[in-house]
């Protein structure tokens, strides 16, 4: 790192006040997935190199030391398990209740099932392949089933969305619509209800007991927009009534809707974010699991932006973020090939209110706990 860079120095000095905790790591290859596989562990995977690794990392112990934090010097990630994938990883999901992940790749439409392994060996082994039962695009999107029987919901276009049981490979459910809209994301709300978001912002709500889905077209979307979504549930098997959906477009539009009434958003905003990337590949919006009404947005540039939607209304305005993580931009070694830095993904910590993990296209991965200025709470 260039020690004499003033801006970087300024940011590090500022970081003393704006973060409680800050950890900056450099992976050998960049990842576009961060997936929690346990209370203290995450999985990341290569998307850009010849030999694509899947790694399970244990978070720095210092974060979990509680009252004894001062006595714990462990600040590093520990590599717990690793494996090799034959294609760059597009999507990676942890299977609910199991030591198992499912990936999709950029070269094919197949899904690969991996066993992370227990204490004895540190190898992540591939245990199976799922081939979608109809022609499909590469890089399918995946969601984990939420019941005890390990299954995945996956799709690349609305008409090929299906649910497959992992052990047997049996197709448990397939949608009965012929829409060719591309899938940008999908997620289970409870054991049978699920939501799919298409690239054009249309939402589909389905039930695995019925091949028909309800769909909600998005009005007022700017042409050429690419949309992603995030679902906020109160518990894994909640009543659909208690769910909120956020949709984010590549032009910075955000719509917040109640799952009971997806036709009209309850809040919306136009974020002041310019996308500097040609691809919408890294666009990401997430709800904070602990903080009320907070969401995080990334994929436009080298930063992660956090907003509090409480003060938003049905009339679109341009809110200020409550926090912006600029770490990736400011601890980035300038690349000579002129590629712009972009945050590829981010996730919230499941129970620490203000802790996030974010990764960028230069291979960096940060763990940070930001300070809410309005809170003044250390």
């Amino acid at each position: 790192m260039d020690i004499s860079s003033d801006e970087a120095d300024d940011w590090f000095m500022e970081s003393l006040h704006i973060y409680r905790d800050l950890h900056v790591f450099q992976l050998e290859h960049p990842t576009k997935v961060i997936e929690w596989t346990g209370e203290k562990s995450i999985c990341v995977a290569d998307y850009s190199s010849a030999r694509n690794e899947i790694l399970e990392l244990l978070l720095p112990l210092k974060l979990y030391a509680g009252g004894n934090k001062g006595l714990c010097p462990e600040r590093d990630f520990k590599l717990q398990h690793g494996g090799f994938c034959d294609e760059p990883v597009e999507c990676l999901r942890h299977i609910f209740g199991k030591r198992c992940v499912v990936t999709s790749g950029q070269y094919s439409s197949k899904l690969q099932v991996w066993d992370i392994g227990e204490g004895d060996s540190d190898i992540i082994k591939r245990t199976g392949v799922i081939n979608p039962k109809c022609p499909s695009d590469k890089g399918r999107k995946i969601a984990s089933g939420v019941t005890d029987g390990a299954s995945v919901l996956h799709g690349s276009r609305i008409n090929d969305v299906q649910q497959t049981e992992l052990v047997s490979g049996r197709v448990l459910y397939a949608v009965g619509t012929d829409s060719l809209d591309a899938v940008s994301g999908l997620q289970f709300v409870n054991s049978s209800t699920f939501v799919v978001c298409a690239n054009n912002g249309t939402l589909y709500v389905g039930d695995t007991r019925d091949p028909r889905m309800k769909h909600y077209v998005l009005h007022g979307s700017m042409s050429g927009s690419h949309w992603v979504f995030a679902l906020r549930k109160d518990q894994p098997h909640s009543d659909p009534a208690a769910c909120t959906v956020a949709r984010l477009s590549s032009f910075g539009q955000v719509l917040v809707s109640d799952l009971r009434n997806l036709c009209s958003p309850v809040r919306q905003a136009q974020l002041n974010l310019q996308q500097n990337m040609a691809t919408c590949d890294f666009l990401n919006v997430t709800w904070a699991p602990v903080l009320d009404s907070c969401l995080a947005v990334s994929g436009f540039d080298g930063k992660v932006h956090i907003f509090d939607t409480t003060s938003w209304s049905t009339v679109s305005q341009t809110p200020q973020p409550v926090f912006v993580h600029r770490g990736h931009d400011l601890s980035h070694e300038a690349k000579t090939d002129g590629t712009l830095l972009v945050v590829t993904t981010h996730v919230w910590h499941p129970w620490r209110p203000r802790t996030l993990l974010s990764a960028a296209s230069d291979g960096s991965i940060h763990v940070w706990d930001w300070v809410d200025k309005n809170f003044e709470h250390f």
Partner: protein, 600 residues
């Protein structure tokens, strides 16, 4: 097959002490001689019985090499050399030689004087041990004896730390000790050339970590100091010597300047004395860039950092003090600690590992009540922060080092093979080399393929080239005939004739003769002609001649036909060949035994 044997001493999954034996080209080398800091009994020493059961090690070891001054790498050295017995050379860099005895003496004092242990080395033993040390300079090849040479490379990590290349003939091993691949403010990163050793030996301990950036560690340090100062507390930072201490000072100075802070920062005088002493070591040890930005600073050129006086410890208000010794086991840092421990606004920041028995070790284990001299109890109410600043390589660093050195094999010590299968796969796939992970006490034998350089005589070379054919291709070895003469220390390849001449010998000629019986109704002369025609048609490309003296010659092989008066149809074909034509001769006799084709 030539091979190199590597044995990490110790038992089972024991981590925490480095002592590795290497057998290469008939030489035995001990790499590091560390103490296990977790044990209080003899288990803390390496088990030398692997080398010999009968006492002294001198006859069994050609040399001992110490990579750096940390106790888990040199702590057992005086025990090995003076209590077990070793009188051969001990190699280490100049800074290591200067700092080792101080750490060993400190360690001895704590263990013997404070903990009252016996069966430990004495001060005199430390002195006697250091007399056997031969100092190394970076990148300088040192001949241990006629055949064994060693060379030290910069390892980063701590002042004086080295990676070592050991070479016998064309076989070599590189041992990394502890190293780091990302530069520190005062140390720089490890570096080695493409020396392509047969084996690269390194620690597996950090191979499965991904290190948090140095900047974030510094940030944590500054944050903690600032928090304490803000609430009016005092911060004690016990440090060992130059290097880390100066780095932290520069950090604080920059921070104070930026934040316009007024609280005083002090540097104890004990440190200053040591600083001057080690200053010289630094000058030769660090590179140009670091010398410019770091070493040339005079200790007292800091704007905000002043020399400490004992009386200041009682001054009211916030302050930061750097004091020795580093583990709070004696001296000024302990005195200051005793004064400040009772106030929860204060803080002590421990920048590294503390040996068992020291106050540092106790408070890092969470102890809140300490027993001091004279049965007095000290309550520890101040905040204790353990920060690790030592620079180590991680998973990425190991890959970088392998890329630099290009070893043929890699050997990871102190790891559990099952827990490192992924790293092994990764290394083997990316570099196409073998990765070994012996358990402690287990010997790994790595077969090497050394090349033996040989001088070839000009005549022989010309002769081979004159034979024509394609240009020499290293992928397609061609057989040639020559004689290898090993004389004194040289290896020469010469033609057999020249060898015989030099040795004053004359070559023996060996001729084989055999008789083949043929049934043939023709005359002897006709039979011979038939044989001639047959051979001419079979042996195309060979020189087959029918000579007027009634012989047929194939190359140098002579054939004659005769018969007896009693049995004129039973022809005896006499074949005679010299040793060089053995193969052709055998072929001919087998061919003729089959008889002549009737069509001739």
């Amino acid at each position: 097959m030539p091979d190199i044997k590597v044995t990490p001493l110790g038992a089972g999954q024991d981590v925490g002490r480095s002592c590795i034996l290497v057998s290469i080209g008939g030489k035995n080398i001990m790499l590091d001689c560390g103490m296990h800091m977790g044990y209080n009994d003899d288990r803390r020493f390496p088990d030398f019985s692997y080398i010999t059961q009968n006492g002294r090690l001198t006859d069994y070891l050609d040399c001992v090499i110490i990579s750096h001054f940390h106790l888990d790498h040199c702590g057992a050295l005086p025990y090995m050399s003076e209590m077990v017995g070793y009188d051969g050379p001990i190699y280490m860099t100049h800074p290591t030689k200067a700092i080792c005895p101080i750490l060993l003496e400190d360690f001895r004092k704590i263990t013997v004087d404070k903990k009252g242990e016996t069966n430990f080395f004495t001060s005199q033993m430390i002195k006697d041990c250091m007399k056997k040390v031969v100092p190394l300079n970076l990148h300088q090849t040192v001949q241990v004896d006629d055949e064994l040479e060693i060379k030290a490379y910069y390892a980063g990590h701590v002042l004086g730390a080295a990676m070592v290349q050991i070479k016998v003939g064309s076989e070599s091993v590189v041992y990394t000790g502890d190293y780091n691949m990302t530069p520190d403010r005062h140390l720089g990163a490890a570096w080695i050339d493409k020396c392509r050793p047969d084996i690269l030996i390194t620690e597996s301990t950090y191979a499965t970590t991904i290190r948090d950036s140095k900047r974030c560690r510094e940030r944590d340090f500054l944050k903690k100091v600032h928090e304490s100062i803000e609430r009016g507390g005092k911060v004690l930072i016990p440090v060992f010597a130059l290097g880390r201490a100066q780095e932290l000072c520069i950090l604080l100075e920059t921070f104070w300047e930026r934040m316009n802070l007024k609280a005083p920062i002090y540097f104890s005088t004990g440190l200053t004395e040591k600083a001057n002493h080690y200053y010289k070591l630094f000058i030769t040890w660090t590179n140009q860039k670091i010398r410019k930005t770091f070493v040339q600073r005079n200790m007292f050129e800091f704007k905000h950092i002043k020399a400490f006086d004992r009386s200041y410890a009682d001054n009211p208000g916030p302050m930061v003090v750097f004091a020795t010794p580093g583990m709070l086991h004696a001296g000024q840092s302990l005195q200051i600690f005793k004064k400040w421990a009772g106030n929860e606004k204060n803080m002590v920041i421990m920048p590294g590992y503390c040996v068992q028995g020291t106050v540092g070790h106790k408070i890092l284990n969470g102890q809140k009540k300490l027993e001091m001299e004279g049965r007095a109890t000290l309550e520890v109410k101040l905040q204790v922060e353990y920060m690790s600043f030592s620079a180590h390589a991680d998973a990425k660093g190991i890959m970088q080092l392998i890329r630099m050195a290009e070893p043929h094999n890699i050997l990871l010590v102190h790891g559990e093979a099952k827990k490192m299968a992924f790293l092994k796969d990764k290394i083997e796939q990316e570099f196409n080399i073998s990765c070994y992970m012996p358990a402690n006490g287990e010997t790994t034998t790595v077969t090497t393929n050394p090349s033996v350089p040989v001088d070839i005589s000009l005549n022989l070379l010309k002769r081979e080239m004159a034979l024509g054919g394609p240009l020499p291709d290293p992928k397609r070895p061609r057989t040639m005939h020559g004689t290898l003469i090993m004389k004194d220390n040289s290896l020469r390849l010469v033609s057999p004739e020249q060898a015989l001449k030099e040795l004053g010998l004359s070559e023996h000629q060996l001729r084989f003769t055999c008789r083949v019986h043929l049934q043939d109704p023709h005359s002897d002369t006709d039979t011979l002609s038939r044989i001639y025609s047959h051979l001419k048609s079979v042996l195309k490309g060979y020189a087959v001649q029918h000579l007027p003296d009634s012989t047929v010659m194939v190359e140098s092989i002579v054939l004659k036909v005769s018969s007896s008066a009693e049995e004129p149809d039973l022809k005896v074909v006499l074949l005679s060949w010299c040793f060089q034509d053995e193969e052709l001769g055998s072929f001919l006799s087998t061919l003729l035994k089959k008889g002549l084709p009737s069509a001739l």
